[in-house]
C-alpha cells in the first residue's frame, strides 16, 4: 500500500474542548444554522478554557486522539473574567513544550470562538481536520496497549 493510499484511509479523531459560554454555544449555532463540519470532531464541554488541564490533552492523545482543539471566549469576553487569559499563558507554554519533546505542534490548537461565530467554528474544525489528515495518525503519545 502506498503512503498516499494510507492517508486516504486515515480518518483523524479530534477532541475539541469547548468552553460552555462561547465556543460550545458557537458549536450550537453552527448546528442550528445547518452548517456542516467534519464528523471527526468530538466535542467535550468544559466550564471555561482554563478548566482544561494539560493532563486532559495528554490523556486524549494517549487514548487515541490525533489532534486536540481548545476553544474559548475571545480575550476580554471570559464569563469568569480572566479564565481565558490564564489559558492563553498555559497553552502558549504547553504547545511550545510539546514541540520541544518532539510532538508536532500542529496537533494542539487553541482558538477563540464566540457564541455568535457558528461559521467560524465550522471553519476551524474543517481546517484542523484537513491538517491532521495530512499529518497522519498520532503514534508518538499513544498508549501502546
Amino acid at each position: 500500500m502506498s503512503v498516499a493510499a494510507k492517508t486516504q484511509d486515515f480518518e483523524p479523531l479530534i477532541v475539541a474542548f469547548c468552553c460552555n459560554w462561547c465556543s460550545y454555544a458557537g458549536a450550537d449555532l453552527a448546528g442550528t444554522g445547518r452548517m456542516s463540519y467534519p464528523a471527526n470532531i468530538r466535542v467535550i464541554r468544559v466550564p471555561c478554557s482554563s478548566r482544561v488541564s494539560p493532563n486532559f490533552i495528554l490523556r486524549a492523545f494517549q487514548r487515541g486522539a490525533d489532534g486536540v482543539v481548545v476553544a474559548g471566549c475571545h480575550p476580554g469576553d471570559c464569563h469568569y473574567v480572566s479564565g481565558n487569559y490564564h489559558a492563553r499563558r498555559r497553552f502558549s507554554m504547553l504547545r511550545r513544550f510539546l514541540e520541544f519533546v518532539g510532538i508536532e505542534a500542529e496537533r494542539l490548537e487553541v482558538h477563540w470562538i464566540s457564541a455568535s461565530e457558528g461559521s467560524r467554528f465550522a471553519q476551524v474544525m474543517q481546517d484542523i481536520t484537513d491538517k491532521i489528515r495530512v499529518l497522519g495518525p498520532n503514534r508518538k503519545l499513544r498508549d501502546s496497549r
Binding site: 494539560p54 493532563n55 495528554l58 490523556r59 494517549q62 480575550p75 476580554g76 480572566s82 487569559y85 490564564h86 492563553r88 499563558r89 498555559r90 497553552f91 502558549s92 507554554m93 504547553l94 504547545r95 511550545r96 513544550f97 510539546l98 514541540e99 520541544f100 519533546v101 518532539g102 510532538i103 508536532e104 505542534a105 494542539l108 490548537e109 487553541v110 508518538k140 503519545l141 499513544r142 498508549d143 501502546s144 496497549r145
Partner: protein, 323 residues
C-alpha cells in the same frame, strides 16, 4: 571549608543550648568519601556530627514539610540553591519563615562523585579537599591536585545564586558569581527537527523507572496530594509503558513551569540520568521570552508567571511552529 565547619558546629551547639531552636538540620559524614547525608540533631552534644565538605549536596529545606516539625523551631544550613528552594516552599505557603532559623553557607560548587569516578580517581580515595580553585585528592600514600571546576556538578557550573538569598546568619564570606550559559543544551535540542527531538526524548524517557525521586526531592513539588498518587481519577497508570513515562515527565515538568528554581536536584538524584534540567530550562526559557525574565525562588512575594496574566500577552499558540 574547615573554618566554616567549625563555625557550623559552634553555632548549632549555641542555638540548641540556648533553646532558640528545637532541632538542627545539617549534614553528617557517611562511611565513604562521597557520602554526606542529612542529619537531624536535637542535642547540642551531637553538634560534632555536623560536617561541611564538597559533598553536602542534599537540600535540607524539603525536610521542613515533615508534619512532626511543624510546631518546632528548626535551624538549618542553606547553600544558594537550597535557599531558592526554601523561598519557593514559602511562596507555596508550605513552610513558615518564622519557624526556621537559617544559616547561610556560600557555596562555590560541589563535587560530583560520578565525575571523579569517570576520571578514574576514585580507587582508594580517602577524601577530597579544596584550596582556592584547586582540588586535592588524598589517597593512602599519595596526593593528586587538579583544577576544581572539572569535577563540579553541572548544576554548580551554571549556578547563578551561590550566595543564599534568604538567611538569618551568614557563615563565611560571599563567593563570586560566575555562571556559565545554562540554556546551551536546550538551544541545541531546539535546533533539531521535531522527529529527532522525539527520538531523543523517547530514548531518555524509556529509561525511566518511575521511582519518583525527581518529584520527591524537588522543592517546588510540595502538594499534599500529588496527582501521580491519586487513585481516583488515576492519572498515571502503573504499567511499564512508554506513554505513561511520557505523561509523567511532561506533566511533572509542566507543573514546575514558573516555579522551578533551577536547582538541578531532579537531574542529580535521577538513577538513570535523564536530563531533566533540559525540560525545566526549556520552560524557564519560554517564560523569559514570552512574559519577561523571572527567577523563581528569589522573591517569594512575587506572583509566579503561570498563575497570573497580562491582557497584552502574546498568543504564542498561534505560531506555526512551537519552538
Amino acid at each position: 571549608m574547615k573554618e566554616i565547619m567549625q563555625k557550623m558546629r559552634a553555632e548549632a551547639a549555641r542555638v540548641l543550648s540556648s533553646g532558640e531552636v528545637d532541632l538542627v538540620l545539617g549534614w553528617e559524614k557517611g562511611d565513604l568519601w562521597w557520602q554526606s547525608y542529612p542529619v537531624f540533631i536535637e542535642n547540642e552534644k551531637k553538634a560534632e556530627l555536623l560536617t561541611w565538605d564538597l559533598f553536602c549536596v542534599p537540600n535540607l529545606a524539603k525536610y521542613l514539610l515533615e508534619e512532626i516539625w511543624h510546631k518546632k523551631r528548626v535551624a538549618l544550613f542553606f547553600k544558594g540553591c537550597d535557599a531558592l528552594g526554601f523561598n519557593q516552599l514559602m511562596q507555596d505557603k508550605r513552610v513558615d519563615r518564622e519557624k526556621a532559623f537559617i544559616f547561610a553557607v556560600p557555596c562555590s560548587g560541589l563535587v560530583d562523585p560520578q565525575k571523579v569516578e569517570r576520571a578514574g580517581l576514585h580507587q582508594g580515595l580517602l577524601r577530597v579537599e579544596r584550596l582556592g580553585d584547586e582540588l586535592t585528592f588524598v589517597y593512602k600514600d599519595r596526593e593528586k591536585k587538579t583544577a576544581a571546576p572539572w569535577f563540579y556538578y553541572d548544576k554548580c557550573l551554571t549556578c547563578r545564586y551561590p550566595n543564599p538569598v534568604v538567611f538569618d546568619f551568614m557563615l563565611g564570606e560571599p563567593v563570586p558569581v560566575n555562571p556559565r550559559e545554562r540554556f546551551t543544551a536546550v538551544k541545541e535540542l531546539e535546533g533539531q527537527n521535531v522527529d529527532a527531538r522525539f527520538q531523543y526524548w523517547q530514548r531518555q524517557f524509556s529509561r525511566c523507572i518511575r521511582c519518583f525521586a525527581c518529584r520527591n526531592v524537588c522543592p517546588a513539588c510540595s502538594c499534599r496530594e500529588c496527582i501521580f498518587d491519586l487513585t481516583s481519577p488515576r492519572w498515571l497508570g502503573k504499567a511499564t509503558e512508554l506513554s505513561e513515562n511520557q505523561f509523567y515527565h511532561i506533566t511533572r515538568a509542566f507543573h514546575m513551569a514558573g516555579r522551578c528554581v533551577d536547582c538541578g536536584e531532579c537531574a542529580r538524584v535521577c538513577p538513570v540520568q535523564i536530563p531533566l534540567t533540559s525540560l525545566n530550562r526549556k520552560l524557564i526559557k519560554d517564560i523569559d521570552e514570552l512574559y519577561g525574565p523571572y527567577d523563581a525562588g528569589v522573591d517569594p512575594q512575587k506572583v509566579p508567571p503561570l498563575v497570573t496574566f497580562n491582557p497584552g500577552d502574546p498568543a504564542a499558540f498561534l505560531e506555526s511552529k512551537g519552538v
